[in-house]
């Protein structure tokens, strides 16, 4: 597969598509009925016609790579195809309402929220689900606050959250944000949780263990029952990071494995668009025992309708309102379209694709059996390998993580690639592996920009066009 990304270049030959500010700006004096001392003097912003703007942004879009451009096996991110009909459903005028209108006039919104709470509960094996957290990390934060409130309600002050060394960075940051000391758990030789080390790590101080299953190496934590018993026996709770749920749909549920709390990344598992970094949504499911601690409001069914209420011991708010509503609408639409058979098949094909791709590439893959993703080891610097893969028209895997694999290429093709596409991906992997170091270090060449200097970007940060202007003077 050959790829040339569009590359618009300014006449100066010093920059690609110029900034809006370099095209045309205008300074407008602020003139208002308000007293002068309550207003600003002027505003200077880009001032372009709609055709100019349409062209500006279209060119920018051409210098951007998405799931519809080509394969996007970015490990841990589950870059699925985002079904088009969900755009239309989310864009439905009836979805565009204010949350403070009377409940009797927003029954459609409440009903849809109720259905989504319900189906997510069934998918995860959880008794109650809140939709409020606006992203996965916000879900983690919500879940850990629920755990904290639960322990406190029992007069049980606990100070630690245990996190495996291979966990997502958000787990550590979340636990710290919630005020816990983080106990990092080293992995076992086989890439899974070291049960003996866990036994040594948990204590009456343990508020929770945060676990991803399958873990970031794609491995199922086979000892999950023993792990759950250890944590529960110490009085702690088990938290499931839903980043890898796409591996398990219809085959295993966190609730059945002994997890008390979980978050769902609907932008991963349920195919809502990643939007260049967001918005996502991170609903949180809990067991009956913890349902009373969920955020306010929660939706329940009443006689002939739906209503919002504050759970009895609610932790309160984790978002100004009810989270990323338009993302939740899309997630429900996806689940309602696929149903049991589709969800189960999505996981089957995601796992099939990861295994097939792994079998077709000439890289060492130290850990297995893996599920929806695998972590390959590159002979060269994984970051360089990734840059060269860009030239072949594929988005590279996540690089240099998890650290258990040297020069890691964490690869998650998802279910949306067919065999031909996977074969092309494999060709790109192997082509790069066989290239000389110079070629790899020179890459990428076919992309809009060539290799970008990260060091000077951080050393002398220029974060706005104003900073660029100041720099030039």
């Amino acid at each position: 597969m050959k790829y040339e990304q569009a590359r618009w270049t300014d006449d100066s030959e010093e920059l690609y598509e110029p900034l809006l500010s370099e095209k045309h700006t205008r300074e407008v004096e602020v003139d208002s009925d308000l007293p002068d001392h309550l207003t600003r003097d002027s505003v200077e912003l880009p001032d372009l016609s709609e055709p100019e703007l349409a062209r500006h942004y279209t060119r920018l879009s051409q210098m951007n790579y998405g799931v519809e451009t080509g394969p996007f096996p970015l490990g841990s991110c589950t870059m699925k195809y985002n079904p088009k009909f969900t755009d239309d459903v989310a864009g439905h005028p009836k979805a565009a309402t204010h949350p403070d209108r009377p409940a009797s006039t927003r029954q459609g919104t409440l009903e849809l929220r109720y259905h989504l709470q319900d189906v997510l509960g069934r998918i995860g094996g959880m008794d109650a689900v809140t939709l409020q957290p606006p992203a996965g990390a916000a879900g983690e934060f919500t879940g850990i606050l629920v755990a904290k409130a639960y322990h406190q309600s029992r007069g049980d002050e606990r100070s630690e959250v245990v996190v495996p060394d291979s966990a997502h960075g958000t787990n550590f940051a979340t636990a710290a944000m919630a005020g816990y000391d983080v106990v990092t758990l080293p992995g076992a030789e086989d890439g899974r949780v070291d049960v003996e080390a866990l036994e040594a790590a948990v204590s009456e101080d343990t508020a929770a263990l945060m676990l991803t299953n399958p873990n970031t190496l794609g491995l199922f934590e086979r000892d999950i029952e023993a792990i759950a018993d250890l944590v529960h026996d110490a009085g702690g709770l088990l938290y499931y990071d839903g980043a890898n749920l796409n591996a398990l749909l219809g085959r295993a549920r966190p609730g059945d494995m002994g997890f008390d709390i979980m978050h769902y990344n609907v932008h991963k598992t349920f195919a809502t668009p990643h939007g260049g970094g967001g918005p996502g949504a991170g609903p949180v499911g809990v067991t009956d025992e913890l349902a009373a601690f969920l955020p306010d409001p929660h939706v329940r069914e009443t006689n002939g309708g739906f209503e919002e209420y504050a759970p009895e011991h609610s932790i309160g708010k984790v978002h100004g309102y009810g989270g990323n509503w338009l993302v939740l609408v899309r997630a429900y639409a996806y689940i309602a379209r696929l149903g049991d058979v589709g969800l189960s098949d999505a996981s089957a094909k995601a796992v099939l694709n990861a295994n097939y791709l792994a079998s077709q590439i000439d890289y060492d893959i130290p850990f297995g059996p893996f599920h929806h993703e695998f972590v390959a080891s590159a002979d060269e610097d994984a970051a360089d390998v990734a840059k060269r893969m860009l030239d072949y028209g594929v988005h590279p895997p996540t690089t240099k993580w998890p650290e258990a694999v040297s020069e890691a290429l964490m690869t998650e093709p998802t279910e949306v690639e067919n065999r031909r596409s996977l074969d092309q991906l494999a060709t790109a992997f192997d082509a790069v592996a066989n290239e000389d170091v110079d070629t790899i270090e020179r890459a990428p060449e076919n992309t809009a920009a060539r290799r970008i200097d990260q060091v000077s970007a951080a050393r002398s940060p220029r974060l706005s066009w104003q900073a660029l202007d100041a720099d030039e003077q």
Binding site: L15, Y16, E27, L34, L38, E44, L45, E50, T58, L60, S61, Q62, M63, Y65, V67, F72, Y81, P83, V89, A95, T97, H98, P102, T105, E111, G125, P134, G169, A176, F220, R251, R253, G275, G276, G277, P279, K317, V318, H319, Y321, N324, D340, G342, D345, A346, K349, L352, N355, K387, E415, V416, N418, A449, I452, D453, Q454, A457, P461, S464, A467
Partner: protein
């Protein structure tokens, strides 16, 4: 498989049966189930009882549910606003190169989104007068929470109290309380004077223990603050952070935050680019350059590529969770980047004149509607003798809940904010309904 058919697998997994069989053959297994390494004891062999549907049936199902939202004319605000979003915003933001991309870990293939975010950051720098803006938080409430935790990391600031206005949206106050739950900070409120900050009471409250003072302009009640510079001085005198909450439209008209001494600006940016979305928002976050290495969230910076051309990249990532783990400035990963793109396109589409005019309309329309409501027998408006932006509180002689309920019967939604107080918010989205609202109020008030 066509969108007309009920799927018997994932319609978005493109494998033909023979292709699946061939791939299984390559792997030497009989079925996909053989690839799952899940102990028997925790296998799920039940059903979710979720039927599969064709695309057409799925749309019908969702549209049927959503259609139970009644047609109501909303005069609602309190932090969540509706402005007309130009078609350009939808058309451009739905280009799949933008919509289906992700965080720009490979900047060489993501220059387009990075540049759009860089432009968004720059517009925020212009509007706030501060040096640094990040490329989004989830919403105004979480941005406020992040500002408070920033206060704990800034060396020039000590103290354990975050002072917030008595009149603060419950979602923002609640979120803030949770964000500081893991720190030594606690949240206390200061009183208001006729809708605005009671600066004298605040001055008396200030001491060594105050880490941050938060104020909003406009306030929750829609009033425009008149003594913000005093707050800037007050917080300076006590080595506290001054965090100003606002929204992106108001920024185009009201006092520039930097000019009144704001150290951090947070607020709602989705009032451009989104409109009503059941509370879905986009948090703006800008601050003084001295806090650069303590900023939460993603930052786009300009650099050069190996061809010597200007290029953009996420930068200062050592602040972030994927590198710094428990010592990160925040746990945020997925943010609201696509909403930031929409906000930027909307702002660019308005241009400076359009944006200032829109903001000015928010002042004149609120004043004009308040005047008309004030003329209604049984009502008084605005309750606060201040200038207003988009919205205002009105007094009702009758119980406010009854007035709102009667209005709902007439097809209007308003906020009830006190026993005898309602709040009305107006923009160009409900301008043709103002006459009808006034008539309805004349009947029910």
């Amino acid at each position: 498989m066509s969108s007309e058919h009920t799927p018997d697998g994932s319609p978005f997994a493109p494998h033909t049966p023979s292709e699946t069989a061939a791939m299984l053959d390559v792997l030497g297994v009989d079925s996909e189930e053989d690839l799952f390494d899940i102990p028997e004891a925790v296998r799920f062999d039940g059903s979710f009882d979720i039927p599969a549907r064709s695309e057409r049936d799925t749309r019908r199902h969702l549209e049927t549910v959503l259609s139970r939202n009644e047609d109501v004319v909303e005069f609602l605000g309190r932090g969540h606003y509706d402005h007309y979003v130009p078609s350009l915003v939808d058309a451009i933001s739905h280009r799949s190169e933008f919509l289906t991309s992700y965080t720009q870990y490979q900047p060489e293939v993501a220059q387009g989104f990075l540049q759009a975010l860089f432009e968004y950051q720059s517009m925020l720098v212009e509007l706030t007068g501060l040096d640094v803006a990040n490329c989004s938080m989830y919403d105004a409430a979480t941005a406020l929470g992040e500002a408070a935790t920033l206060a704990t990391r800034v060396r020039s600031v000590s103290g354990a109290v975050v002072l917030v206005p008595e009149l603060l949206h419950e979602g923002r106050r609640g979120t803030l309380e949770n964000y500081v739950d893991g720190s030594d900070l606690r949240v206390e409120s200061y009183p208001m004077d006729d809708g605005n900050v009671d600066v004298d009471a605040l001055r008396e409250r200030m001491d060594e223990d105050v880490a941050m003072v938060y104020a909003e302009n406009p306030t929750l009640a829609g009033t425009i603050e008149e003594r913000l510079a005093d707050l800037g001085d007050l917080t300076d005198d006590h080595d506290a952070l001054f965090c100003l909450g606002t929204d992106i439209v108001a920024l185009a008209l009201l006092q520039e935050p930097a000019s009144v001494g704001a150290d951090v600006v947070v607020g709602e940016a989705a009032s451009l680019g989104v409109g009503y979305a059941d509370g879905m928002g986009m948090g703006l976050f800008a601050c003084d350059e001295s806090f650069l290495r303590q900023v939460p969230g993603r930052l786009v910076g300009a650099s050069e590529d190996s061809a010597g051309m200007r290029a953009y990249t996420l930068t200062l990532q050592t602040r972030e969770q994927h590198i710094r783990r428990e010592r990160a400035t925040s746990n945020i990963c997925t943010n609201q980047a696509w909403v930031a793109l929409r906000t930027a396109i909307h702002a660019a589409s308005l241009g400076p004149e359009g944006l200032v005019d829109l903001a000015d309309d928010c002042v004149t329309a609120a004043a004009a509607l308040a005047e008309r409501v004030d003329d209604i027998s049984g009502m008084r408006a605005p309750v606060y003798d201040r200038h207003h932006f988009r919205e205002f509180v009105a007094h009702t002689d009758q119980p406010a809940a009854a007035v709102a309920s009667d209005l709902a019967d007439e097809g209007f939604a308003v906020h009830v904010v006190g026993e005898h107080r309602i709040q009305l918010c107006t923009t160009e989205r409900n301008d043709t309904q103002r006459d009808a609202l006034v008539e309805a109020l004349e009947d029910v008030a």
